[in-house]
Point group: C2
Chain length 305, copies 2
């Protein structure tokens, strides 16, 4: 299949939102947004972010969209559109590409974003780069710098599942299924970013590298400390089962496991939006603590460590 045929097959049945004034097929797409434009990009590389033997192509496509749209949610913006660049070996099975694109479209539908453009190239390494565009709709962005002492720290979405799923896959197992599914495609709490913003969130971010590590960015940017209260942390049942089976600390999956793409935010009051749960409080200081003490486990994920 030649490049233009491939593009044609990918773009043949794309549905787009009302804010798309020009979709796929020109030098660029055009969007009519009502507020400031939010933009974020993520690159996913085979062997680094996914393994083809673990991740079906459809999961890779879904994950590429999910992790990127999650960053738009984290600004308190409405996700609007995405562009997807895909590079892959010339001899890659065309079914893989078709399934990848099906995953992209499936997750776009879940996230409420329009696929408005892309690029294709050959490459020895399967590589996906997604850029997501959001519409602040008149809101100010919720940054990492607005947390103040006394604010409540809360999360929405799954924590610990993706890390537990990774350990499961690394041991050669495919169950328990739920954590493995979360590792392959995180369940992003779509819509919660705007809700948090409208309910007064003072800082917010996407938890991609582990709760403690990412909350450290809020500490740094806001000039505060954050104390996590483990009595408020629920250990999901499947995460507990993986921890027990592997001799690992279940709490560590929840506090430091990466790739969950839950949202964390600070709120000025204890009355939280539905779906958000309190996990700690903003304190004076400059770092994240757990029950008042430094955490001694791994705090995140570094691609170059």
């Amino acid at each position: 299949m030649h490049e233009f045929e491939l593009i044609s097959s990918i773009t043949s049945d794309v549905s787009v939102g009302d804010d798309v004034t020009l979709g796929i097929g020109d030098d660029a797409a055009a969007l009519r947004l009502t507020g400031d434009t939010v933009v974020t990009t993520d690159i996913l590389v085979e062997g680094v972010h996914f393994k083809r033997q673990w991740s079906p192509a459809r999961s890779v496509g879904r994950k590429a969209i999910a992790v990127n749209v999650s960053d738009v949610e984290a600004m308190g913006a409405r996700p609007s559109a995405i562009v997807v660049a895909l590079a892959f070996p010339k001899d890659l099975d065309q079914v893989w590409v078709a399934e990848f694109e099906a995953g992209v479209k499936e997750e776009c539908a879940r996230a409420g974003v329009s696929l408005v453009g892309g690029d294709l190239s050959s490459s020895p390494t399967v590589t996906v780069c997604v850029t997501a565009i959001g519409d602040l709709e008149g809101r100010l962005p919720v940054t990492r710098s607005g947390a103040r002492v006394g604010h409540v720290v809360a999360v929405t979405g799954n924590l610990g599942w993706a890390g537990a799923g990774l350990v499961t896959l690394q041991r050669g197992f495919a169950s328990p299924k739920e954590p493995v599914a979360e590792q392959l495609t995180p369940s992003v709490p779509y819509g919660q970013g705007v809700i948090a913003s409208d309910r007064g969130a003072t800082s917010m971010l996407d938890i991609s590298d582990g709760l403690l590590g990412d909350l450290g960015h809020i500490c740094e940017r806001s000039g505060v400390g954050i104390d996590i209260d483990t009595s408020l942390i629920e250990i999901p049942d499947p995460v507990a089962r993986v921890a027990a089976a592997t001799g690992r600390n279940a709490l560590a999956f929840v506090l430091a496991g990466g790739e969950d793409h839950a949202l964390a935010a600070t709120f000025p009051t204890e009355v939280l939006p539905e779906g958000w749960r309190r996990v700690g409080v903003v304190v004076s200081g400059d770092a994240v603590s757990v029950d008042g003490h430094p955490w001694d486990g791994a705090a995140g994920w570094d691609h170059f460590a």
Copy 2:
């Protein structure tokens, strides 16, 4: 160097435009645009779009920005901002990464765009993915579908240089220097997209795959033919020299050589904006012809052929 240190060094001295309300350092950036948002993405892969032995890192960085911003120009939009994802082997020389980023910043300054975000990953294959955002500032996008019979076909920017430069490099030579420089980093006619739109361009595109091949997209989308008048085509001196030295057809470099990133547009009148030159006319039909006849040379570049 760890990921966060690397990001910090890259983002330390970035200057941004007035339309950037939130720059690098959060989950996403935010832009305050005055018109519709234009978005386009390109992926550049080592061995496909550039070779490290030919292209200095600074040229790769510059080219990645140039080819992408060119697509924003082609819509008649003002280029506003870019995000850059870079994947590279863990053992890649850090000087390469630093020079790449210097090239990115240099071309951003030339193009008048702000670097507002990015992503880094390890990968066995050096891969760059750039997404550019433009502001239509109240204009309608200039698409590929507005060409009508009788309209003048015109171009601005260099044609044939990049193709001649590629042949020069393939033969192991580094001169003549100008075509080689154009192959390594095309000179995009920044600002001409908005000028063409304001002067009534009825269709426009970026010539990335060769003039004839890309004009074919206007024919297809506008339901017209285009006839190129070779008496209007200037053969640049360095292109003529490469053609003579390699026994190739100089006209073929100009008409079918890729990667120049000039702009082609159709205008309703013969009075063209400064910097634009007439090359042909829109006729009834459905394909591109040269002096009234089909062209028998290669018409473009297909990454999967």
